[in-house]
Each structure stands twice: as C-alpha cells, then as structure tokens.
Symmetry: C2
C-alpha cells in the first residue's frame, strides 16, 4: 500500500488553473522549470506529487498579491486544489513535511494567491511523534477541574515585574480561585525576572496554596529559548512541583518544539505569537486548521486560538474553526487532541456564544481585565466568569442568570 500525504490549497491564478497547479506539484516534487535528464517515468511514478482534486471556486477582479504573471486577457480564478505526495519522499519528518507542503511555493509566479488550508498525514507520522502527552484529560487531572472550562489569566503587566511581584500576583489570583495562570510571551528569562527565580517564587505560592486549599493552580512558565535551556527549565519546573510549561512555537520553531515535546513530562502550553504574519493576508500563508496539526503532533497540549470578539483582527468564524480543529482527532488510534486556549479581550460576555459555537467546555478561558478589573476584585472576577460559563452551559441568558448571581451582575454592569 502506498501511503500519501495530502494537502489542500486555495490558489489564485490568471493561468489555466490545472497548468498552474501542475507547476506547483512539479516544483514541490520531482519536476523543475526545464526538462531534466533523469526525470524518468519510473522516477515520476515513484516521487512526483499528484493533483488529487481541483475545483474553481471563484474569481477576483484584481490579484491579491503582487508579482504574479498574468497572460493577456485572462481572468483571475480562485481554485481549491488538493495535492498528494508519496510518504517516501520525506518520510515521517515534520520539518521536512513543512518544507514540502509549505516550502518554495508561496512565491511561484503563476499564483497571485496561495494558502495552505489543510493537511492529512499517513499513520507513520502518528507513530513517529509524541503528540500531546496530557491533552484535555491530563490537563483537567493536573488542574483539578472537571465539567467546565479552566478559568485562566495572564500575568500583567506582561513584562517588568520581579519574581516576588509575580508571586504576589499569583497569590492574589490563587486566593481568587483561579485555575490557570500563564506568563506573558514577552516574559521568559529577562534580567528583572530570571526564569529560575520566578519559578521558585511562584511555585512557593502555588504549593503553599495547594497545601492549604487542596487546589493546585496550573501555572504555565514561559521557557522559550534554546533547546538545552528549555530542557533544563522544564526539569526545574517539574522539580518544583509545577504542572505546565509554555513555549512560543513560532519563535522556537518545529525542531525545538519536537525536542521539548519528546523531553517533556508536563503539559506544553503552545503560544502562537507571530501567527498573524503567517495568516492575516487571506490569500497567503496558512489556515490554522493546517498549521495547528504540526504543533499538536510535535507535542502541544494547549493551543492558542484567540477568542470571540477579540481585540485582534481575526473574525469569530475563524476563531471557532481553529478551536474545532484542535478538538478534531488527527488519527483514529492517536487523536492528538489539544485543548484550545481562548484569550484576548475575553470577559463574561463571550461564554454563551463560545459554547453555542463550539459545543464543548474542553478549553482554557483566559481573561485579563475581565478578572483584575472586576468592580469587586479578582475573586469576584473569577467567580463571574464561572457563572457566565454555567449560564452558557445551561442555556440561560446572562442577564437572567445575573439576577441571582452577584459577581456576574457586577461584571455585566461594570466595566467588564
């Protein structure tokens, strides 16, 4: 049985779409722009990429991206194309898969738009990579939260606090009943807040609180850095009794995240900062549906998906599609489910629409101002978010639920 990798693209071209997609298939496998000795029929059979599907889906008045060639008088068509490659070309290697399905093709002159929409991988990839070691179940177990989302927040100010100031904030949040706290992605190992000191200071607070209350707050320590640094930092978090580490996937990169994934004995909170550069031009780059599969396979347990009505440019539809993708199994025997992380301007107002669209509470719901700026303080802030989720899950309108839930009422009335 030949096992093939499949990738779906949205392409925009003023050429015959089939000819243009053939160029793309050639460029990304055994072909090149002039005939080459050695490209025999046997070699092509063995190694060439194949067009599995091609469908015209629209038309454009103007090219979305500059630099494309445009034969006189031709219309610019939008097409959905599926290519496939033999697994043998690159083997089950995520970095080399990336170079194949998302390599030298975004710049091809035939296209004024080219976006990777999705990928499907042979089971050999499931066997070759760790995938999330904790996922939803492991995260819930370590955080001690069942039947509702983890309510989380982010250390703010993002950067500038000392370890002691960070720990003070974590104490406040722990006492407020928070489930999950994360470092900001800007805070890794800066001069004023060295990683090791921060871990020790924060874990003293987290462990003390757990000893007293039985609840261990999950803190995602941002260990982004070089491979050996990340392994060492992970080991420190583990030794101090921590339950989560965080890394910036685009800054660390695939090989680094794979190394961390193989090494880790803690859930990996994958921060996608920089994602906008790869996705915000609609005719270029990656759909998150394709992108997140690389990182889940590498070992990400939590994946950022932005949030509804966020402060960024992303639409709600796109946010929900991303979250659904994280919750969709990748392989029958190895689903590699990652817990989606909702954040960015999240308050008590978004849970009903979030739950209605997603149909799941298997997520981390991270709010900043929604907690710290609650008129009755952080404890009421956390409580108000739990109340909002309870209302959402029960199908009760927020205003109704607020009648006998004071924290929610205050959040809805105040600056929430």
């Amino acid at each position: 049985m030949v096992e093939r990798i499949e990738a779906d693209y949205l392409v925009e071209t003023a050429h015959d779409p089939r000819v243009a997609v053939e160029v793309m298939a050639g460029e990304q496998s055994s072909g090149t722009f002039v005939p080459v000795p050695g490209e025999t029929p046997e070699l092509k059979e063995r190694s060439a990429a194949r067009i599995e599907a091609l469908e015209i889906v629209g038309e454009r008045a103007e090219p979305s991206l500059p630099g494309a060639s445009h034969p006189d008088g031709r219309r610019i068509l939008l097409a959905r194309a599926t290519l496939s490659w033999p697994l043998a070309n690159m083997g089950p290697s995520l970095p080399n898969l990336m170079a194949t399905v998302a390599g030298n093709l975004f710049e091809l002159k035939q296209f004024s738009g080219l976006r990777l929409l999705d990928i499907r991988l042979p089971a050999a990839f499931a066997a070759a990579y760790p995938g999330p070691k904790f996922g939803i179940e492991g995260t819930r177990r370590l955080a001690g939260v069942e039947g509702r989302p983890l309510i989380g927040t982010i250390v703010k100010p993002s950067v500038g606090f000392s370890p002691a100031e960070t720990a003070d904030l974590v104490r406040l949040l722990a006492e407020a009943g928070i489930d999950f706290v994360k470092d900001d992605e800007l805070q890794a190992d800066g001069l004023h807040c060295p990683f090791d000191e921060r871990v020790r200071a924060v874990m003293r607070v987290v462990n003390d609180h757990a000893d007293r209350s039985g609840k261990k707050v999950m803190f995602a320590f941002n260990l982004s850095g070089e491979i050996d640094e990340m392994r060492r930092r992970h080991d420190l978090v583990l030794a101090e009794g921590g339950t989560c580490v965080m890394a910036s996937i685009n800054a660390v990169g695939l090989s680094g995240m794979i190394a961390l994934g193989r090494h880790s004995e803690l859930p990996i909170h994958a921060h996608r900062n920089g994602w906008g550069a790869l996705s915000r031009a609609p005719a270029l780059g990656f759909s998150y549906v394709a992108f997140q599969k690389f990182w889940r396979l590498a070992g990400a347990d939590h994946m950022h998906v932005n949030g509804l009505a966020n402060k960024f440019a992303e639409s709600d539809e796109s946010v929900i599609a991303s979250a659904r993708a994280c919750l969709t199994p990748m392989f029958a025997d190895k689903p590699c489910i990652a817990m989606p992380v909702f954040s960015s301007g999240q308050t008590v107002r978004q849970p009903p629409a979030t739950f209605a669209a997603l149909g799941s509470t298997d997520l981390i719901y991270a709010a900043g101002g929604g907690i710290m700026a609650h008129p009755d303080g952080p404890a009421a802030g956390v409580e108000s978010l739990r109340q909002s989720w309870a209302a959402a899950m029960a199908g009760i309108p927020l205003e109704t639920h607020a009648r006998d839930h004071a924290a929610l009422a205050a959040a809805l009335g105040g600056r929430s």
Copy 2:
C-alpha cells in the same frame, strides 16, 4: 548605559498613527488594553517599549489587510515607525527577541498593515551567539575558489534519485568543474535516498575527484530534521570529509538552527523555503533585511536570496536588497557576514546586472538548467557561467565576450 533593541516597521492605520503605534509599543511590552494594577511609572521606565521615530510616508485608498478597525471618515495612512525595548526585557535570546519584535502585533486591530523592516541589536547578542563560523573566507578556503563567485547547482530531479544516482550526477558535475552542489530542500532523508547512504555515496565521488584533481567540490547535504538527527548527520558529513551542511531554516526553526550553529564544524547553508509566506504580502510579515539577521546570528554561513529575473514573484530590487543585507556587518567587532546564494532560473544572462547592482563576487551563483541544458553539456555549462562572470567583472558586454568564448556563445545562442 541602557542598551536597547530597535526595530523599524512599516505600518498602515486609519487611527492617529502615534496612538496606534503607542498601542503596539504597549502590547509588546508592559501595557495592555485596560489599565492594570502594578504598571507603575517605575515599571514603565524599566520595561516599556519606546517610540523612537514616527514618520508618515504615504496614504492608501483601501486597507491592505482585512479586519482592521476604521474610525469614520479617517484616511488610511502609511507610516514608518521605530520602536525600542530595553535589552533587560528578554536578554540576548533570539527566540525571545522574535516573540518581542515579531510576536502578537501583526494582528492588532489598529493596523491594516504591519511589516518588520529592520532590527538593530545591542552587542550582547553578538557575544551570546556563534554567528557564521565560516562565512565568505571560510567557504572560499574550503571550496578553493577566490576572486569570483562559486558556481553551483542543485541536484535535480529534486527528489526521487537513489544515492547511487545522486552520486553519478555529482561525478558528472565534478568533472564539469562545478564548485558547489546542493541537495534540493525536498531531499533530506527519504526512503529512496536515505541521508547516510547519500552522504557516503556522494563523498566517495567528491573525495575521489579531489584526490585526482586537487579540487574538492563543496556539497551541501540537507540534514534538516530533529536536533539530535541534525547533530548526528553533521558528524557523519564531517567524518566523510564533507565541507557543507544545509538546513531549511523555516522548517527547522530558530532554536533548532541555534543548536546546529553551536554544534557545527562546517559551513551551514541556510535554505529559506517557506519565506514567501512571511513576505509576499507587501503590508505584512518581514522584510528579508530584518529576517536574515536572526539566522546569521544563529550561525548561517550561506543565505538564499533568490536571483535576478527569477522564476518567482520577487522583484530584482528586493533580491539585491537582500543580498546587500547579508554582506552588511551586523556588529563592528563581529560582522556575521553570510554569503548570499543566488538561485532560481539563473543562467549566463544575469551575472552582469547582478555584479553591477551588488559590486561584489562574494556569492554562490547556482544554476540548474543553465548548466545541465547547455547545448555542449554540463562542462560547457559551468564554463559559460564562469565566462559570463568574468565578462561582468571586467565590464565587457556578454555579446562581446562571447566572440572568443565558445561556451558563453553557445549558452547565449541556445536555450540558456
């Protein structure tokens, strides 16, 4: 002395540009979208990003990217902004620098365009990273080529050859007088051409040829993969007498490339496949001038820059700006110069314009069809490229030089 990191951006906004850039500076340092307890004047002084310069440079009729907020009746302005950060925020860490200067900002709603144009780093980065260990001088020494570009080519078909077929092609190219050969980025460790077998088969040919002729062809073996794989593969290439390794920087990522850079005892040929996704939308992503600095510092000795009149969508101006950037020192005491690699549809026709624009021969000039499809065979193909470069360097028009240089004449007359 406070040392600060600087980054230049091109931004597009329908808001007051100063207010929008202040949001960006806040988002990427100590601020957030609501006031936060703890963001004291002292903390801001210590950690806040600063606007160093802001200049309106143009106007747009329509937003370049979707999702931006647009206050009624306001014009969309284009501005060049320079931000700075204290080094203390992230320390001299390339991954954390990336998360800071190119993190959660491309998606900010205030902007319908945001592109990183350049970065300038404190000397602490030079001290913290290896930078290119070979660069121009080391590459020339190992390849035995002085006073002219290295003439190179890429194994084609890109993928599908066995190790023996690859070695046969390398024998042909070595006998043709080639200086440099690289694996295609699609060929790393596939089933039909395992890395170790390919290295042994190719190095037998390269070493035999060196023994006979005194000239050792530099072959860049694509070792892209996981960290431990890359280190092991590097060691094999070194043990077999090889003189170069290649990696796909966007597929491997920064932490992986840093690990390779620290480990390597061979020049690292950095392949930028996937670059189009980060750069092709003019209002989004990265300029190569900014981008290449990360990889040079991580250890890249050779950086791909595309070529003039290439088969991709990039303009010649952009190609030359990229090549110049690679040849521009990063630090006074540690220039970190990388050798630019020209490729993509390069033939005898581009050297005059390339040399005129760049004023340097410190580059690798890689041609595919320009060598293999020469009417008199690959040896004449290589010879014709050297003749074209000799003409370019002497300021002699190609047609004139071709009068008494047969290989060049045939290349110009035939399908070059």
